[in-house]
């Protein structure tokens, strides 16, 4: 379970996150919905350790994350897909997916890669292609696959559906769902500006406005 309590972040003297509080239970997919500039990306970056939190609680299965550098948070089993994919252009698609496994010295890197290929078979054909030559949609798939390599406990997805055509959005939804079926305890946080695609994944949604979160009541059937 990932717990974020009263998280505040200040950048260059400006308060970006005032009070972000959310809980993602194991096996649950949770949405974080807010407009551009509301603090979604900063929330995910702060959980990952890429942006320093000024105060607040951040814990994974009760273990405090706040003092850990980003690479050790990742190695605890947190997978991260940044908003702009950020693939390594000099590496192939396959190498991009394998970077987390190599970084952690995982002995079963190839087995994990095979697991990812089973979920997203189209990546097999792209394996040798340099990341610089992939289309935006293909990059989204590779970035998601890359997060699967480490994301055994938590997945942080920053605007995965932004600018994506409906067929690819449906493909991404299916991949996340199927991955979670293989990892029953996995907690997933999806940040989006629109609720549309997130509704396909979850009924637990937080809204974020000016750096403050609030749980949105589930719609009545």
């Amino acid at each position: 379970m990932l717990e974020v309590g009263g998280l505040t972040v200040t950048l260059h003297g400006i308060t970006i996150l005032r009070s972000v509080t959310l809980t993602i239970e194991p096996g649950r997919i949770v949405g974080l919905i807010g407009r551009n500039g509301a603090g979604k990306t900063t929330t995910l970056r702060a959980i990952m350790g890429l942006t320093r939190a000024a105060s607040g609680r951040l814990a994974l299965e009760g273990e405090d994350l706040s003092g850990l550098p980003p690479h050790l948070r990742a190695r605890l089993g947190i997978g991260y897909v940044p908003e702009d994919r950020r693939l390594i252009s000099a590496l192939s698609a396959r190498e991009n997916i394998l970077v987390p496994a190599w970084a952690g010295g995982l002995a079963d890197a190839e087995a994990r890669l095979d697991g990812v290929y089973t979920l997203m078979p189209e990546l097999r054909e792209l394996a040798a292609r340099p990341a610089a030559l992939l289309s935006g949609g293909q990059q989204k798939l590779v970035a998601l696959a890359r997060s699967f390599m480490y994301g055994s406990r938590v997945l942080l997805l920053d605007e995965p559906f932004e600018g994506v055509a409906p067929p690819l959005a449906r493909r991404l939804v299916r991949a996340v769902r199927e991955f979670q079926e293989h990892r029953p305890g996995l907690s997933v946080l999806v940040a989006e500006s629109e609720v549309k695609w997130v509704r396909l994944l979850t009924d637990k949604i937080y809204s974020i406005e000016r750096g403050t979160t609030a749980e949105v009541p589930a719609p009545t059937p």
């Binding site: 990952m48 350790g49 890429l50 550098p69 980003p70 690479h71 990742a74 190695r75 991260y80 940044p82 702009d84 994919r85 950020r86 693939l87 390594i88 252009s89 000099a90 590496l91 190498e95 394998l98 970077v99 987390p100 190599w102 970084a103 952690g104 340099p130 990341a131 610089a132 030559l133 992939l134 289309s135 935006g136 990059q139 890359r146 480490y150």
Partner: protein, 298 residues
């Protein structure tokens, strides 16, 4: 014909030396994003250490050919001793600072190391020419050329190949590539970026020291050799593209051949042509000859 041969041989020898002294600078810049002015000092310390240790071997009565592995050992020693110390002690603290701060810091390290060298080795020249003389001369296509220059080329090729194998053919090298392209996202993927930076800077320090150690038998090692080297290495690095090692190799070859040509036909312009080439490339292609490829944004 003899002139052409001389231009080729001189050009390749000079290019080998340039590659050795600039490869570490561009590699360190690629990984750490710090233009290390103290790179010239590491070269000079390599030269002093190489000359001192090779001198000890030669005067001990041991096989004089042992001087060559001793020069390599001196470079490894300098890199291992100073690389982690400088990266962990100083550079790591300024990674997120503006470039002017990193330049000032490495300039300060440069000045401190300059005085440190004077404290340890004094200001008198140190000359250990035996490793150069020992190999003799080789008649080749009408000219006689020192064999040591070919050794220098061999060392540069081996160093370049080693760097290429590590970066392109190993998993650790792929992680280095990842850090070179995006340090932040690499950390979020579990890459221990501080460790990669320490290892990369140590490797760069070894390369600088290797250049210095193998230069020592060709020159008199005196205070001030650091400054000359850093300016030339900077020119080669800019021509090839900051942070691009293969670009640095081609930049070194271009500069080497151009300078060797100038020496034959317009000796007064031998250094001018180097900086003229740099200026032209900066005007036409500011990112250097081999600028990086970016991931498509759409």
């Amino acid at each position: 014909m003899d002139t052409l041969t001389l231009i080729l041989l001189d050009g390749i020898a000079f290019a080998s030396w340039l590659f050795l002294v600039s490869a570490g600078l561009t590699f360190a810049y690629g990984v750490l994003r710090i233009l290390n002015i103290a790179h010239g000092s590491l070269y000079a310390i390599g030269a002093y250490t190489g000359a001192t240790l090779a001198g000890l071997v030669l005067h001990s009565g041991a096989n004089p050919f042992l001087a060559y592995p001793v020069l390599v050992g001196a470079a490894l020693l300098v890199g291992l001793a100073l690389g982690p110390l400088l990266e962990r002690g100083f550079l790591r603290r300024v990674y997120d600072q503006e470039e002017v701060i990193t330049l000032l810091l490495t300039f300060a390290i440069f000045l401190i190391l300059e005085d440190g060298m004077k404290l340890v080795w004094g200001v008198s020249p140190i000359i250990v020419a035996e490793p150069y003389a020992l190999l003799g001369q080789l008649p080749l296509a009408g000219v006689t050329y020192p064999v040591y220059s070919f050794l220098l080329t061999g060392v540069a090729i081996v160093a370049g190949l080693a760097l290429w194998v590590v970066i392109d053919r190993t998993r650790f090298g792929k992680l280095i590539t990842s850090v070179i392209h995006d340090r932040e996202i690499s950390a979020a993927l579990g890459v221990n970026v501080p460790r990669i930076c320490t290892v990369a800077f140590t490797g760069a320090a070894m390369l600088a020291a290797l250049g210095g150690a193998f230069t020592a038998p060709m020159v008199s090692v005196t205070p001030g050799i650091s400054a000359d080297v850093i300016v030339l290495a900077f020119a080669v690095t800019v021509i090839g593209g900051l942070g691009n090692i293969s670009g640095g190799a081609i930049g070194a070859l271009l500069v080497g051949l151009l300078r060797a040509t100038a020496i034959q036909f317009f000796p007064a312009l031998d250094l001018f042509v180097v900086y003229a080439l740099m200026a032209v490339i900066l005007l036409v292609r500011p990112e250097g000859l081999f600028g990086g490829v970016e991931v498509r944004r759409i």
